[in-house]
């Protein structure tokens, strides 16, 4: 029974709550759907087509609920509110991303299953042993969670990435692959910005240091070119803020290093599958999208060929992930031909490619997190 004095409260609530539900219902029906969320960096679910089969199996209902969530009125605001409340509750980790010190978001490292890692390393080893005539190098970039350990939230549980990198180093070295260890170099420059605060990639600055560290084993003459750093964008919002919801309005600066020279270098970047040839490493129109890091070589492509007028080096094959994209512009002037292969998208035959392009050197460029989660490299190296 309602006591008299509670009545005003319950009455007010009994009008307010249904009113809220109906207003929101109306807005949800009236307002148009969005196809993409810039804030979350993902495609939003669209209204599912309904069929009797799907309804009976329950699939349609699940899809419909996702659709309703994704298209909820003022979704971005709700997502921000949730993330802010998470921080208020003291949460420092979300979806595998740590909210670190000085504004850094750091992607946590998931150690690979032993079987998985062994399979990849076996593939690299056997490939090295069957191609002894080709010089092979590997650059395995450590991630922010490794180099910027000190920026992790207070006593965050972390698996040491170095011990896994060391295992790769030992294994590939004994197979004859030259391991280019950039960890010390990066640690020496820790106080500079080596990683984006909101994205999982390393900065062009870090790639430049890695290039300097690699120049020794690769025998590159770095004195040949000098660079100046120019900001390409100051409003880069990376994948980590999208993935975690933390710092969703923070922005990073994204730089390019351009050679200081009066003569514009002449080279051709050939997107093989797309049949497109351009005269730049950079896709400026990507700066207008959320994924601004994709300005380096227009994101990830199965195969890209770079031809330069260089007299210095020969033909280099690079097996890589996206960390390589901002590093390769530094390497390009040193080689006549570079073939970039991203095994995750490449379905061609590597042996044929090596023969056709007369490859003399192979360089693996990966970041540790991707390398340890990768399953495609082994299939490209040793086709089943």
């Amino acid at each position: 029974m309602v006591k008299r004095s509670y009545k005003p409260f319950f009455r007010k609530l009994s009008y307010l709550f249904p009113a809220i539900l109906f207003i929101v219902l109306l807005l949800n029906i009236v307002l148009p759907d969005r196809s993409f969320s810039e804030k979350e960096n993902r495609v939003l679910a669209s209204r599912p087509a309904l069929s009797v089969d799907q309804i009976l199996s329950g699939q349609a209902e699940t899809k419909y609920e996702t659709y309703v969530n994704d298209q909820f009125v003022l979704r971005d605001l709700w997502v921000t509110l949730k993330a802010d409340f998470d921080i208020l509750l003291g949460k420092t980790e979300s979806n595998g991303v740590y909210l670190g010190k000085s504004g850094y978001l750091l992607e946590s490292f998931t150690p690979p299953a032993d079987k998985r890692l062994t399979a990849t390393l076996d593939a690299i080893t056997s490939f090295a042993q069957s191609h002894t005539g080709i010089h092979q190098y590997m650059l395995l970039a450590p991630n922010a969670v490794n180099i910027l350990k000190s920026h992790l939230p207070f006593s965050a549980p972390q698996v040491n990435q170095d011990q896994y990198i060391d295992r790769v180093k030992d294994t590939v070295s004994s197979a004859g692959v030259t391991f280019i260890d950039v960890r010390d170099t990066l640690r020496n420059h820790m106080d500079e910005q080596l990683y984006y605060k909101t994205d999982h990639h390393w900065t062009t600055q870090a790639a430049y240091y890695a290039y300097l560290a690699a120049s020794d084993p690769l025998e590159l003459n770095t004195a040949q070119v000098s660079y100046e750093k120019l900001p390409a964008s100051v409003s880069f919002q990376g994948t980590l803020s999208a993935k975690s919801g933390f710092r969703s309005s923070a922005k990073d600066e994204l730089d390019v290093f351009l050679p200081k020279s009066d003569v514009a270098p002449e080279f051709v970047v050939n997107y093989v599958e797309e049949r497109k040839k351009v005269g730049s490493y950079y896709a400026a129109d990507r700066l207008k999208t959320r994924d601004k890091y994709a300005m380096f070589f227009d994101g990830n492509h199965a195969q890209i060929k770079i031809t330069t007028p260089s007299a210095e080096g020969g033909n280099l094959l690079i097996l890589k992930d996206s960390y390589a994209n901002c590093l390769i512009p530094f390497l390009a002037p040193h080689y006549r031909n570079i073939v970039m292969i991203d095994p995750r998208y490449y379905y061609g035959n590597l042996e044929d490619l090596i023969a056709a392009e007369d490859i003399r050197e192979i360089l693996y460029i990966y970041n540790a997190n991707t390398f340890f989660a990768d399953t495609s490299l082994e299939l490209t190296l040793v086709p089943q």
Binding site: E65, T92, F154, R344
Partner: protein, 462 residues
């Protein structure tokens, strides 16, 4: 469908409520049954048939029991009804479990198809059984109107996760109930509190315990205790939150259900805990299993047997897995221990000691409840008591404590009556302030619900 979803709150609920409030008198029953069928079928339409069968079957058997006066065919009828109900429950819930258990007994593996558990089958089976038992005992008369019985048996508020509402308790309301706005307001209040408990507290607490459970290798003693503490709070806010939502929705429809949780973590003994935790289930087992078995009136040996049977079954009711049986038997033994040994000492102890004793035992109980495999249970208990722990205190404990401390403090406050008493005072003295708090809780809960589809389609961008 679940209550804690955007689709339920912002689509199903307003449309259904509008219809329910617009139509007159008995037509409300039709809207309620149809709405409940939509609610039930949403996401798993096939099992709607099973749920409806159970309702119609028990409706019919209720009429039969009412009609037959001769005791022996009456009893046969009762047994038949119970057997059919339990066979359905057994087949859909325990089939795989029984085959696996039989298989491991003989060291073989018996292949069987994995059946999806029909939503709410344990709840509606028990609800319908209570109706049958009560007719048999002459406590109630069978409901002659199929529609009215349908309202009782299929009503969506308590369909999926309880409480196990007794027919006798709502018989009057099934015939005629007041549906008005101030009852609506009461219902909204309870619903919002339940939603906030589930979405803001339980789901966030779950992240902490799951992270600790997922740790490779050993954890420290304090981390283990912190983990099970988080789970202790999680399961309470999850389960009681769901019950609150059901009770609140019932109020909006004009029904008064009994409370299902009564601040169980303030209990001074394990037996008190079970009078305050999932009350509708505890009283079901008491009235329909324990007392018919003879309760405690047939000597100590029989009493011990009855307690152990009841608690093994209570455990098994929670899930088709041996860890639930273990959990149930753990409580059976504790209750016996309390009754025959501890009650003398416990009664003399200060209230704080009583509560601490109960809370610790309940926390330990949740280890059995939350971990399916016996090996992992032993490992976790080992961590709590230092046997298989990595040490007493480590950095990860500090990390979890730091990331969970605010939730823990809110949880401790919210599992005691004080906060709610203060809020009720506010409702009277400053209604707008109380409404603002409720709306704020609702908004935060909705923010979590909207964000829940966030992670499901994340694609890797490497």
């Amino acid at each position: 469908m679940v209550f804690s979803s955007i689709f339920f709150i912002f689509y199903f609920l307003p449309v259904f409520m509008l219809l329910y409030y617009l139509v007159p008198g008995r037509v409300k029953d039709i809207v309620l049954v149809l709405g409940s069928m939509v609610f039930y079928a949403w996401g798993e339409p096939v099992y709607l048939v099973l749920m409806l069968f159970s309702a119609v079957f028990n409706y019919y058997m209720g009429l039969e029991l009412d009609r037959i006066e001769d005791p022996s065919p009456r009893k046969r009828n009762l047994v038949f009804t119970i057997v059919i109900n339990l066979l359905i429950l057994g087949f859909f819930k325990y089939y795989g479990f029984l085959l696996d258990s039989a298989g491991s007994l003989f060291g073989i593996s018996i292949p069987h198809p994995e059946l999806a558990l029909p939503i709410g089958i344990s709840f509606y089976t028990f609800k319908n059984l209570s109706y049958i038992f009560d007719i048999y005992k002459g406590k109630i008369a069978a409901q002659r109107n199929l529609l009215t019985f349908g309202v009782y048996s299929t009503m969506f508020p308590h369909m999926a996760a309880g409480p196990i509402v007794r027919y006798a308790d709502i018989e009057e309301q099934l015939r005629s109930r007041t549906v008005n706005l101030s009852k609506m307001g009461i219902g909204v209040e309870i619903f919002i509190k339940g939603l906030a408990k589930k979405v803001i507290l339980a789901d966030n607490l779950a992240l902490i315990y799951n992270q600790i459970l997922a740790t490779d290798g050993r954890i420290s003693v304090l981390t283990a205790w912190l983990g099970i503490f988080a789970y202790t709070m999680q399961i309470y806010f999850d389960f009681s939150g769901y019950s609150d939502m059901a009770i609140g929705l019932g109020k909006m429809l004009g029904f008064d259900f009994q409370k299902n949780f009564d601040y169980p973590y303030t209990s001074g003994s394990v037996s008190e805990f079970w009078r305050r935790w999932h009350i509708s289930l505890g009283s079901w087992f008491r009235d329909y299993v324990y007392i018919p078995l003879g309760g405690n009136r047939a000597g100590t040996a029989r009493h011990i047997r009855n307690i152990l049977i009841v608690w093994a079954l209570t455990g098994l009711w929670h899930g088709a897995s041996w860890n639930f049986v273990l959990w149930g038997v753990y409580y059976g033994l504790l209750l016996l221990l309390e009754k025959y040994v501890l009650s003398r000492f416990l009664g003399a102890a200060p209230a704080l000691v009583q509560r601490l004793y109960t809370f610790l035992l309940v926390m330990i109980g949740w280890v059995f409840f939350s971990i399916p495999s016996f090996g992992s249970i032993a490992h976790y208990l080992g961590s709590m008591f230092g046997v298989s722990a990595s040490g007493f205190l480590d950095r990860s404990f500090l990390y979890y404590l730091r990331s969970g401390i605010i939730l823990f403090i809110i949880s401790i406050l919210a599992c005691q009556p004080n906060l709610q008493i203060r809020f009720r005072r506010l409702m009277r003295t400053r209604p707008w302030a109380a409404i603002l708090i409720d709306i704020l809780l609702f908004v935060i809960a909705v923010a979590y619900l909207v964000s829940s589809s966030y992670h499901s389609f994340l694609y890797q961008q490497f």
